[in-house]
Structure formats: C-alpha cells, structure tokens
Amino acid sequence: MSAAAQTHFSYRRTGALVLRYWYLLRSSWPRVLELIYWPLVQVLTWGFIQFYVAQHSGYFLRAGATLIGAMLLWEILFRGQLGFSVSFLEEMWARNLSNLMISPLRPAEFIAALMIMSLLRLIIGMVPVTLIAVAFFGFNIYGLGLALPAFFANLILTSWAIGLFVSGLLLRNGLGAESMAWTLTFLLLPLTCVYYPVAVLPHWVQPVSWMLPPTYVFEGLRALLLDHVFRLDLMLGALALNALFFGAAAIGFMALLESARRQGTLLAAGE
C-alpha cells in the first residue's frame, strides 16, 4: 500500500476492526444474549406498568402509551452508548490497545468502527424487543413513521458522544474509569425527562434539561403520541446540540489520547 494511501482515512482498516468485534461477538452466545436480555426485562416491566396505569386513570389512559415508547427510546440511548463503550472496553480487557495504537489505524477509523459496532449491537438487541412490544403490548414503535429516524438519529448521536468521552477517560485512566462506561448515561435519566414532561422539573433545573439533546427527543415523543404533532423544531434543536456535544466529545477524546501518550499509559492499557 502506498504511503499516500496510508495517510488517509481507510475504510479497509475500519472494516478490519469491525470484523474483529464481529468475530468476538459471534464467538460467545452469552454476549449476544446479553444484548437482548436487559431491553427485554425493561420492556416487560414498563409494558405491564402501562397496562396497570391504563386501567386506572382517564388521562393516563392516553399518557400510558408514552411509557413504553419512552422506555424503548431510552434503551436506544443507553444501549447505543454501551455498545460503543463495551467494544472499546473489549480492547482493554484483551490488552490489545497497544497493538492497535502502534498499527496504522487512525483515531477516526477506530471511532468509526466503534460507531458501526454500536449500531450492530443495537440492531441485534432492540429489533426483537420492539417486536415483542408489538406482540405483547400493542405498541408499534415503527408506527411512529418518519419521526422514528429523527428520534433514533438524535439519540444515537448523543450515545456516541458519551461513548467517545468515556473511551477517552478509559484511555487516560485505564480500567479504573470502567464504571463510567456503565453509569454515566444514567445521569441523563432524570434530567432528560424520559418518563415525564420537562414542566415537572423545578424551574431552575429546566434550563439544564434543555441543554441536553435527548430532552428534545422525549418531549417530541410525547407531542407525537399525545397531541399527534411532529415537532420538527425540537428535532432540529436536538441535532444542533448533538453537533456541539459530538464535536466536544471528539476534541475531548483526542486530548485524552494525547494525555495518555504523555503519561505513557497506552503501553500498559488494560492494567
């Protein structure tokens, strides 16, 4: 391969890394099962809560439908980030990060491979669960129509931004920062108003909530299900914030990577 070709983004190197994660995933059925397990537990829990609420209240009869929809969208956000971070963690657990860092693999190619794996893991985990939601609880997320790609794109972008930032922390601090991969997104659960409107929050918290892209998605979902209105303004607001968040996460990742180079933690990454 020519030197010029080696200095540019390479789909082949990205594909090679995706192949590595795919080999890993298919080598272990518990890993595949785990992708479906937690979303299934969640959809069953919230599905039955929705049944109960719908049977006991007039307003909540309508609002109840948002619970399972919000839960599914929350899972896209959380599982998207986890899919990104777990693929990264696999390299640390395997003590393979040094091998990647001394290869011609660019950070952008590494990130692209992690994003592709995040999508693949989401598809494996979420598609069966959304079909169960249709069969058991009569909630068809695909019935959201064109709103669904808008919701999905915004949530996945946020999940990648968080995944990217967490990966930078892992590079810099090693597996001591592993818990961030599992817990950081949960900080968004109360603030992004997954299961209730922003108006429920205290006034001083609401501006914070509106600084987070998923808030726009969950408000958009409620507008669609309760008022039958697709709020394009909310989606564009989320997209603009996501651009900021992703850009900041990418800059943060590169800064943490350079810091790891200075601290010499890349050679011992995984310890």
Binding site: M1, A3, A5, Q6, T7, S10, R12, R13, G15, A16, L17, L19, R20, Y23, L24, S27, S28, A94, R95, N96, S98, N99, L100, M101, I102, S103, P104, L105, R106, E258, R261, R262, Q263, G264, L266, L267
Partner: protein, 282 residues
Amino acid sequence: MVKESHSAGRIALAKPARRDHMLRTMPPSSPVAPTAAIEVENLVKIFKGATAVDGISFRLARGSMTALLGGNGAGKTTTIAMIMGLTTPTSGKVSVLGARMPAERYRVLHRMNFESPYVEVPMRLTVRQNLVVFAGLYGVEDVHGRIGVLAEQLSLRELLDRPTGRLSAGQKTRVSLAKALLNEPEVLLLDEPTASLDPDTADWVRARLQRYRVERGATVLLASHNMTEVERLCERVIMLKRGRIEDDDAPQRLLSRYGRRTLEEVFLDVARGRGEAREAAQ
C-alpha cells in the same frame, strides 16, 4: 549530538575515562550511516517527576540488529514506546525511517511492527481471525497468501483455527511473531521476545528472527535481559542504566574491554558500577 556506533559523536558523549579507550580502539574509518533507520537524540522521558529516560542518543543503521540491554527500570521499554510513537517524549527527538515520532507516525507505522509477550494478541479470536484483522489494519495486499507463508515459516498451520487463548506460551509467542511480521516490517521492535519460553522454543524463535532480518534487510531493535540472546543475535549492544546509556559497542568489543567472557558478566559489571571503577583505575 547523536550517538552512533564508531562515531565521533558517541565518543564525545562518553565519560572521560572511557573516551580515551574509545579513541584508542576506534577503527580507521568511522562513517556516519547516511540512512539511519532509527535516530534518537537527547531523548528524555519524565513520568511524574521520575526520570525514566535521561538524555540518550543513538542511531541505528538500516539492516542492523541492536540490543537495548539493562535491568528492570533501566528505560528499555519506555525508549521503545517512544520509538513507536506510543509515548510522547518529554524532550528530545526520535525519527524512524525519516519520520518524526510521534507527530509523523502515520507516515511510517505501516512499515514498522512490534512484538512483546506483555502485549497480547486477542485471546478469544482464532489465530487466523487475529491475523486477518491485523492484516487489514496494516494494509497487507494478499491477506490469505501472506498468512499461509507465515503459517508455514512459523509452524502455525495446525493452530490457525484454534482460539489464541488456548495455546501454550510458546505457541502464543509464534502467533505474536506472525502478527509482527505480517506487514514485512522494515523496522521491527522486540521487547523481550523470548521471555518465559523454554530454551528450545526460545532458540527456535531466535533463528526465525535472524532469518527474517537477513532476508528482509530489516532493522531490529531488541530489548532484552537475555545475554545469550543478545550475544547471538545482535551486532551492537546499548547498555542502559537508570535511563542513561552506560556503554554502547559490539558484543565482542565489550567483552574484551571489560575483560569478561560473557555479556552477563559485563552486564553485572555495568549494573554494579564496576566498569566505572575499572576505568577510573586505568
């Protein structure tokens, strides 16, 4: 100033007692290699106040095989990490095949590779899967052809479809070596490549490394504690102690200069400061 074998630069940087000796034993012509594969100049690495590498300089000619010899904490691995662009120097300069590291690393990383028993190849993937992935990362053209050649050369054919994690230490080393040779590197960095191997397997690995270096004309830098390995493989030994170069010469010249029969004895002299004492006495 860059330190090079048989060069005026090396002599200028040496301690006074040793400098006289070097001048006496210097060969008539001391050409500076026009195309050094690796150039290290006044390299310093400080981790949180602790100096791991303390102003070392050397140049490695293309096609040479050199050992970095030193005890634990001497700075061998840190030096190699800076040469690979994995660690940023605190100060000083590293160039590999003309590219400044780490800033210009993507110009040359596809022409380098590294092997160490401490950096594992993913255990859950089969040997073949690992080699396919790394071949993709290094841009190897004929992936399966190259894997076939390496499998033959390194006796991996029977192991290709077995999970890497289920192999013995010796077999894993052969897999790591196959990964390191996939892209036919011009610069090969090795960190204790035969550590934890039985003597027979270690000897086998050394023979393969020697053959690769001769056939490819590759530049090899080897960090090791193993004196037999260094004596057998390397034409030059850079001895490190507490991040500094204590000595730098051909193995035979070191032996005669220190009046020792083995490099291990020379190593102990350097590690315990006897070399300086002897020079001072002279």
